[in-house]
């Protein structure tokens, strides 16, 4: 059986953002685990719609590089993940903005501002 990390990455490579569901607490779980936090229960995989809201955001400044976004995204299914919102500068993104997932060539989930 593949590791939970491998199952998650396999999902990303096929364009699906996976998260886990704890039947006991009725809560979404992220990052992938082998047991549910707090309840210790079993977890099942679900597929996220990939749409969420910016919970907090910063731009990281490294010498000689353009500032790069770093955000915490609250997905609509009730889990939070770190990611990067692309195509925005420090003045173009605010907490509360709606964002949508896409996947880089290596499968890394990234977000863009949702224009819908």
């Amino acid at each position: 059986m593949p590791s939970v990390a491998q199952e998650y990455r396999d999902g990303c490579r096929t364009g699906q953002l996976l998260y886990q569901w704890d039947e006991v607490s009725q809560k979404a779980v992220f990052y992938p685990r082998v047991i549910a936090p707090a309840t210790g229960g079993a977890l099942t995989w679900r597929i996220s719609t990939g749409v969420g809201t910016v919970y907090s955001t910063t731009f990281v400044h490294r010498r000689g590089e353009d500032p790069r976004n770093l955000s915490l995204i609250d997905l609509d299914e009730g889990f939070r993940m770190m990611s990067r919102v692309e195509g925005v500068g420090p003045n173009d993104l605010a907490i509360g903005d709606r964002v949508r997932v896409h996947f880089a060539d290596d499968g890394t989930p990234l977000f863009t501002k949702d224009t819908v």
């Binding site: 907090s56 910063t58 990281v60 400044h61 770190m82």
Partner: protein, 384 residues
Amino acid sequence: MALAIVGAAEAGLGAVEVGTTPLDIMAEATAAALEESGLSLSDVDGLFATTSQLAMPTLSLGEYLGISPRFADSSQVGGSSFMAHLLHAQAAIAVGLCDVAVIAYGSTQRLVGFAKASILEEDPYEAPYGPIPPASGYALATARHMHEFGTTREQLAEVAVAARKWANLHPQAFKQGPLTIEDVLTSPMVADPLTVRDCCLVTDGGGALVVTSLERARTLRKAPVVLLGAGEGYAHRNISSMEDLVTTPAVQSGRRAFEQARLAPTDVDVLGLYDAFTINPILFLEDLGFCAKGEGGPFVADGCLAPGGNLAVNTNGGGLSYNHPGMYGLQMIVEAVRQLRGEAGARQVANAQVALVHGNGGVLSSQCTAILGTLDAATETFNG
């Protein structure tokens, strides 16, 4: 059983000479702390140590010092480890696991470089996005605090300016000289909204404490500094797993410490609030009950934390201007001891009886609070 600090010393502050090791720093501080107490290495039967540069720090330090402790604890929860060690030492001595303990820390992170001084520990769900831990985690918490409560960058800068004013009164402060709010705001950005002056220093250094029972402490050289209460609070490791970015486990650690000490925030004369970043003291003032949640920004404005202000916070100059050797909690305890003994020179807080030191580790992950007092304060707590 009440625990007392009977020796406290620092070593290797600022920038150490080439070849210096974390153990050299711990040993030098241990010798100085023992000298204060009148005890010697042969009295030490408990050893507490942690550092990011040694995998088994109590074994390494015990070997270096030539002692064979019967109790050892290298709990590693970042910068708050040493407040936790005080509580663990109290428990260990109370049940007879040891009688006299040394709590030590040493770092040469400035000498060897940040990367070499820390274990590479990447979170696979954060690392792809290029965070600069810990700064980017604190930046995210700061941004959220500003969003929810209207906290301003000027209010954050007040924390750094107050720290510098205290540092200007401390002969061993690494950064001295004038610092204005404008200076903080216009310094190079690290991670929005934090500039380099919102971030702690990177220095070498360390220290040591000698602790024993209050009963034994009464027979030793220095006036004992007594642990009146302490509490630990742990929640997460990485910032993406912190449930509420504007509330830390200091709520729990502070409540536990105040309950044990039978004291309230208004009883505290001098504070150490772990200022790895300017948002930290604001969060901790709220979570420890010195002001309401969300009011930390306005609370620190107008020089409230500076010399002559309403609250004496980080009187050594803090991690922002004094020294920040990777984990800074032990430095804070040493400063509280000096204040309570009346040995703080130009920065002495008049008639300091009760000191609160609040340590923080990781990315607001570990919170440990210790309330220390003079013998008079201890008499009130334990007999009141």
